[in-house]
């Protein structure tokens, strides 16, 4: 723009200020720094004197700034578009688009999930394997502890549990009864058995080998040695002939042949074996360990040696060792007998001084004589 023309416009503006258009042009040149110092000075003078002009300058400045930012954005976009045009969109898109095949799509989408699942699977397999491994070790440990420490085992008392189901008047009455074995210690009806057989009993009966039942009552109990003495209290009971067996004074040695007669079922059952250890359950010195197959119901049964001497009372068996049983040593029988009034036992009682009537007899004969003195204990509660 020739200076003269500009000058001309200026003076026109200054005087008339009508031509907005040209004022705009001058303001823009001013803002872009295209005016010479003289013109700048003139416009600034004008701004100071006329608020309308000042406003125009400010708003145009704001507009130009907006426009510049907008322009920059548009230019950047155009640049990006031209870059974008270089990309082979079709090829790229078709390889990345959701695959028509669901399997591939699933694989792509769930890649990480599948990876997690797979590692979880591997982990579980490893843990299952190691758990199995551990279990094996534990089993070995249990076996080992078995060998080392029998204390863990529980002593199974050899009580027979019988479920007597009697149906009376359509109403089933379930009567729980337990069974054990006992043997006579006197001819007038004193019977010795295990305390645990009769513990918690409401009523007690004994039954002989002929099937006769007699009501008994507990006379003496010795919880420490697990011994109970019962007395037949029944008028139908006739006195027994003299007790065929005697109490053995000495302790038995390991390997001594012993046998027992008991009522693990409703008929007397003979069990034969040998003394396998001088001590019983967990080294209990009051007992022997014997190797006799016993069953629930054998508890309280007499343990006799080959000569018909009373060695002990069968009282229990270890939980996990098959074929072994425990028997209370015979000297505790004597102790128990001393605890009850001596007169009541009568003269014909079990003693350690007499000679056994069973001595020298064949086993079958021994049993024949013995069986009248061995009773089934019936416990109702």
């Amino acid at each position: 723009m020739p200076a003269a023309v500009k000058e001309n416009i200026f003076s026109t503006l200054v005087i008339e200020m009508r031509n907005d258009l040209e004022l705009d042009a001058i303001i823009e040149d001013y803002l872009l720094g295209k005016l010479n110092p003289q013109e700048t000075e003139a416009l600034e003078q004008l701004r100071r004197n006329d608020p309308a002009v000042d406003h125009k300058v400010v708003s145009h400045k704001f507009f130009l700034e907006s426009m510049e930012m907008f322009a920059a954005q548009i230019r950047l976009k155009e640049q990006l578009n031209s870059i974008h045009a270089e990309i082979n969109l079709e090829g790229l898109a078709s390889s990345l688009r959701p695959h028509p095949s669901r399997v591939v799509q699933l694989w792509r989408k769930q890649k990480s999930a599948i990876a997690v699942a797979a590692s979880f699977l591997v982990l579980s397999l490893v843990s299952v394997y190691s758990i199995q491994h551990n279990t094996k070790q534990k089993e070995q440990l249990v076996l080992l502890s078995n060998q080392v420490n029998k204390a863990i085992k529980t002593q199974n008392s050899l009580i027979r549990k019988i479920n007597n189901t009697t149906t009376t008047a359509g109403k089933p009455v379930i009567q729980n009864s337990f069974g054990g074995t006992g043997f006579a210690i006197s001819t007038n009806g004193y019977i010795l058995t295990n305390l645990h057989v009769i513990n918690g009993a409401d009523s007690l009966y004994v039954q002989n080998n002929k099937g006769e039942s007699f009501k008994v009552k507990s006379i003496y109990t010795d919880p420490q040695n697990d011994i109970a003495i019962l007395k037949i209290n029944d008028k139908n009971f006739s006195h027994l002939s003299s007790i065929p067996y005697t109490i053995k004074k000495n302790t038995s040695s390991i390997g001594e042949i012993v046998y027992t007669l008991g009522y693990p079922k409703d008929d007397a059952v003979l069990g034969e074996g040998y003394v396998s250890s001088k001590n019983g359950f967990v080294g209990d010195t009051t007992q022997y360990q014997v190797s006799i197959p016993v069953n629930p119901g054998n508890s309280g049964g007499p343990l006799l040696d080959a000569n018909g001497n009373l060695v002990g009372i069968i009282s229990g068996k270890p939980d996990q060792t098959e074929g072994a049983a425990f028997a209370i040593k015979s000297k505790y029988i004597l102790e128990a007998m001393r605890a009850i009034p001596q007169d009541s036992l009568g003269t014909n009682r079990l003693s350690s001084n007499k000679k056994s009537l069973l001595s020298g007899l064949k086993r079958t004969k021994q049993i024949e004589k013995l069986q009248d003195y061995v009773f089934m204990i019936k416990v109702y509660n």
């Binding site: 708003s59 322009a71 548009i74 976009k77 974008h84 990309i87 090829g91 790229l92 959701p98």
Partner: protein, 188 residues
């Protein structure tokens, strides 16, 4: 194509320095480096190629402006940043289109970029205003203004392009257009 794209991924440092130095080459490399990632994300989340282009370019612009402003801290990989921005923008667009956004399939790590995206949206409102003002202007005003302000053509060029007899005429025309544009632009 894929291979050549992957082969020319610039380092994050290169990108930042390049953008600060207005390097067209860097912008080119940056753009091509991560487009496939975003395209895959959009295509697998209810979008098409055009959506991918829009979203990606917006993200690049956000990154570009952030770098230019000089307050871009490289707290994560550029790749993660771009992916997060794209994801944010696309989720917004999907919810605007009231499409399901419940089950977004992700391909990269994501971190919070809400602030950047919102700042950008505010700025974008101004640009939308300017664009619509230009659109209302009609021809030849729109082109004259665009040529002068955006493409930085001289008045001489514009004069020749539009066949004005002299530059003063062209100038007068330009200022007439400008006056109208400003009127529309400053309309509340």
């Amino acid at each position: 194509m894929n291979n050549s794209l992957k082969g020319s991924v610039p380092t994050d440092r290169e990108v930042i320095l390049g953008i600060l130095n207005n390097s067209a080459d860097t912008l080119n490399k940056l753009y091509k480096a991560y487009f496939a990632m975003v395209l895959q994300f959009i295509l697998n989340n209810n979008g098409d190629e055009d959506d991918a282009k829009d979203v990606y370019q917006e993200a690049i612009i956000i990154l570009y402006n952030k770098i230019k402003e000089g307050n871009f801290e490289l707290s994560s990989k550029l790749k993660t940043y771009i992916y997060s921005v794209c994801r944010r923008i696309w989720l917004k667009k999907l919810s605007q289109r009231s499409k399901k956004t419940g089950n977004i399939t992700d391909y990269e790590d994501v971190f919070a970029v809400e602030e950047d995206v919102e700042q950008h949206e505010e700025k974008d409102l101004q640009f939308v205003k300017m664009q619509s003002a230009l659109d209302h202007l009609g021809e030849p005003c729109k082109t004259i203004i665009q040529d002068f302000y955006i493409h930085s053509l001289s008045m001489q060029d514009i004069c020749e392009k539009f066949g004005y007899t002299n530059t003063d005429n062209a100038k007068t025309q330009k200022y007439k257009c400008l006056q109208r544009l400003k009127k529309i632009f400053f309309q509340p």
